[in-house]
Each structure stands twice: as C-alpha cells, then as structure tokens.
C-alpha cells in the first residue's frame, strides 16, 4: 500500500467504518464478534486495496460471508448462555424516549429469531438500504430469493414478542 493508497484507505475507513460496525452488530448481536468481523473485513480490503474496484460492495460481501460462516460454525458448537442478562428488554413502543442503548436489546432479540441468511438480507436491505440486486450480488442468491426471504423475515419480525404491537396491522400479509 503506497502513500496515496494509504490515504484513500484511511478516508474509506473514516467514512464507512462506523456503518460497517453497525451492520455487523445487527448481523451478530454481539459487539465483540462484530468488531472482529469488521476488522477481518478491513484487513482483507487493505490487502487487496489496489485490486478492489468497489470497496463498499467488497466489504458488504466479505462481511456478510464472514458473519454467516461464523454463525454456522457457532451453531455446530454447544450454545453459550450469558451468566446474567446485561439489559432488560425495554418496551419498543416507547421508542421516542429510548436511546440506542435501550432500544438495541429488543431489536437484536427480534433479529436473533431469524436464520443467518434471513438476517443478512433484512439488515442489508433495510439498514444498508441496498437494492434487491445489490443484496443478491452480495449473498450470491437470486433477486427473487431476496424478495421472498425479506418478505417472510418481515412477517416473522412483526410477530416477535419484543416488537409486538409495533407494526401496522393493515400491512400484514393476507393468510
């Protein structure tokens, strides 16, 4: 990495680093795992900086793959339970009065109910505001799969206890 590339990489991390971390936290529910995934992603980006045309897309793809692979690996290991909960689940209906720290456990708990793939699609689509085509490219699945998975995941989130009553009943799909 030469001087010019170093400056460009630095600017990229300055502008996108926080977003990547937030994306990773939403995908993993764990700050340490998220930080680790972002670090590994940026490391890979730094190693290929001169060959990567679209750093944002590269990071999106690498980060998502890392998180999904880690989640699959974790699923094969015995489940780890925290010794004591660090947060009480707040009432998300009182969102106006809640800070990010208070709101996060409810949102992450709802996201935990999704499969790693569903979760990645929801986070990329709604948090990252990426188009279905971009999400399909990042995950290597068809655009139709992105749409149907997002729809099913949204339906599941609507009924999750930690977000119960928050969504509009009129938007529920007909059953």
């Amino acid at each position: 990495m030469n001087k010019k590339q170093g400056r460009a990489f630095e600017a990229f991390v300055e502008s996108e680093g926080n977003n990547l971390l937030r994306l990773a936290v939403l995908m993993t529910s764990n700050y340490q795992l998220a930080e680790d995934a972002v670090q590994r992603t940026l490391e890979r980006l730094a190693a290929r900086w001169d060959r990567v045309e679209h750093p944002k897309a590269f990071c999106r793809k690498v980060l998502t793959n890392l998180v999904i692979d880690d989640a699959r690996a974790a699923a094969r290991r015995p489940r780890e339970e925290p010794l004591s909960p660090t947060h009480e689940n707040p009432d998300p209906l009182a969102q106006d009065g809640l800070s990010s720290v208070e709101l996060r456990p409810a949102v992450l708990s709802a996201l935990d109910s999704l499969t790693p793939h569903q979760r990645a699609i929801v986070v990329l689509r709604y948090f990252g505001d990426h188009s279905d085509a971009e999400v399909s490219q990042a995950l290597g699945v068809a655009v139709g799969t992105v749409k149907s998975t997002a729809s099913r995941a949204l339906a599941q989130l609507r009924t999750h206890p930690s977000l119960a009553g928050l969504f509009c009943p009129a938007d529920y799909p007909a059953r």
Partner: protein
C-alpha cells in the same frame, strides 16, 4: 414518522445502532498489520550503500549490540559460556536452517484463512509471485511481477555478521516506524502523536520474524537470523509447543509495548520454516497459519481451478 412496516424497521435498525462507532486506532492497527504482511513481499530497497553500512556498523559498535565484557579468565584459559535452553534451541534451529537446500526454483505456500484458501508461488530467480485464491470474495488468481525480492537480492541485502545484522534490522524497523507515524499523523491529526514504544530488542525480534517469513530468504541468512535471536534478550522459547493445528513446533514469543503487543511464532523443528504467527495487541489480534511450504522446479497450476 414511519408510514409502513418497512420504514419502521429501517428506523428501528438505525435507531438501535446510532451510538456505535469504530474504535479509534482501528485503521492504524490494520495498516500496521498490513505493513507487517507487506514486508514479506516488498521489493528489496536498493542494497545497503557503503555510507549506510558504515553508519550501521558504527551504531552496532557504539552500543546497539551487547558489548563484550572484559574477560576475567587469564591468558590461555577458556572462559565457560553457559547457554540458556532457549539459546540452545535457537542455535539448533540455526544449524538446521543452514542445512536446508536452496536449490529448487519455486516456493509454494499454502495458507488457510477461513473462508479464504490461498496458495502463493514465489519464483526464487525473478521474484515473480502467483497468488491463487478461493473463497472470501477474493479474485481467483493474481500475478505480481517481481512482487518479492529474489533470493540473490536478499542475500546481498542481509548482512551475515551478527552485529551488522542487528544494526540493519533496527534501521529497517525505524524506517517502517517512520512510515507508520506519518500515517498516524495524517489519519488523526489532532490525536496524540504515534510513539513507537518498542525496545531495540523488540525491533530486532519483529524484523527477524518478518524476514524468516519471507519465503525467498536464503538458508544462510535464515540461519543468521536464528543466531541473532539466540543472542537477543527477551525472546521466550518453548521447544515442545504445538501450533493451533496441533503440529509439533518450536514457539518463539516476544512482548513489547502496548501498541505492538505480543507476537508469537511457531517454527517447524525439522525444516525451521514458519507454521503460524499470532499477534495480540490492545485492540487487535491476528493469526496467520501456513498449511504447507514446499519447493519445486516446475511452477504448479492453480489448485482451485476446478473447484
């Protein structure tokens, strides 16, 4: 005010993570790490000039290298030298490294950095590199012309004399630190200036480990690195260790300052080649595992082509 469930979900996802920010210094740690990786393949700087060599030797003689204490033994009496276990092990590695053949043209490195598999082929004569990769969104193959110094360039660059080698490695580390400090100034102009807290011994350890990882360093120079490490205080040695894959290994470790943390390397006791390198800093950890290092006279094809 959100109007649909999709808008509401967007607001929830953003609102719940607004306060999260990447730790300061993260980018610097990555660049430092990248610098360490690049040192293995960077083009050799123009060989040490006469002036630089003279400066290096002066530094070595003026105290960078351990001064020989005046002997208490009388003339004609041999002074007993007691080596520590670590020094004996490192001397053994130096002897075995010197005996390794340098004959074959290509060095083939296989790494596994889940989910990416990588095989790198280095040409000893031209320094050309072929990098074959699979997984992790990486391009499948890259050819880097003269991506590494050739074995002949490294042999000319690295002094065989222990004091000169020590001075050279410290100078090399200082040059790298100057680059890291300049980067830190640019990336965070208002933060406290970057200060390298490593001792000279720590710098010698770090640079020696980097050169031991460069696949085209000739056997004689690798042997000299091990001898120098045996004479460097602070290097911890465990002769009967195992790496993370469970392979028998000789472990070398050095802890040096909060920025650089602890570096642990595992060397193959038989071939003296690296098996694994681990870093553990304040906000940064990393691990490189080499699955195999082989030598051949014909350049291997892309092993992942049919996968």
């Amino acid at each position: 005010m959100p109007t649909t469930d999709e808008d509401l979900l967007r607001d929830l996802l953003r609102g719940s993570t607004n306060d999260l920010a990447l730790r300061p210094g993260g980018a610097h740690a990555i660049v430092t790490r990248q610098r360490r990786r690049q040192v293995r393949r960077r083009f050799a700087a123009v060989g040490v000039t006469g002036v630089a060599a003279a400066v290096a030797l002066t530094v070595a003689e003026s105290g960078a290298a351990p001064q020989a204490k005046p002997s208490l033994a009388g003339p004609g009496q041999a002074r007993a030298v007691h080596l520590t276990t670590g020094q004996v092990v490192l001397d053994g590695l130096a002897v075995r490294a010197a005996a390794q053949p340098d004959g074959k043209r290509y060095v083939v490195f296989t790494e596994d950095r889940a989910p990416t598999k990588q095989t790198s082929v280095y040409d000893r004569l031209t320094g050309n590199m072929w990098v074959y990769q699979q997984g992790g969104g990486a391009p499948p193959v890259a050819v880097v012309k003269h991506g590494s110094p050739t074995s002949a360039e490294l042999a000319a660059k690295l002094p065989a004399n222990q004091a000169a080698l020590r001075a050279f490695l410290i100078k090399d580390a200082n040059a790298d630190d100057a680059k890291a400090a300049a980067f830190a100034r640019r990336s965070r102009p208002h933060a406290a200036p970057y200060v390298d807290t490593r001792t000279s011994n720590g710098k010698v350890f770090d640079q020696a480990i980097d050169y031991l990882y460069m696949p085209l360093v000739p056997s004689a120079q690798r042997s000299a690195m091990f001898k120098l490490l045996a004479a460097t205080p602070g290097v911890q040695v465990r002769p009967h260790a195992r790496d993370s894959l469970g392979r028998p290994a000789i472990m070398l470790r050095n802890s040096d300052g909060p920025v650089y943390g602890t570096t642990t390397v595992f060397e193959d006791p038989a071939t003296t080649r690296p098996l694994e390198e681990d870093f553990a800093g304040v906000s940064f950890t990393g691990k490189d595992v080499f699955k195999s290092i082989t030598f051949t006279n014909t350049r291997p094809a892309d092993p992942y082509r049919h996968n």
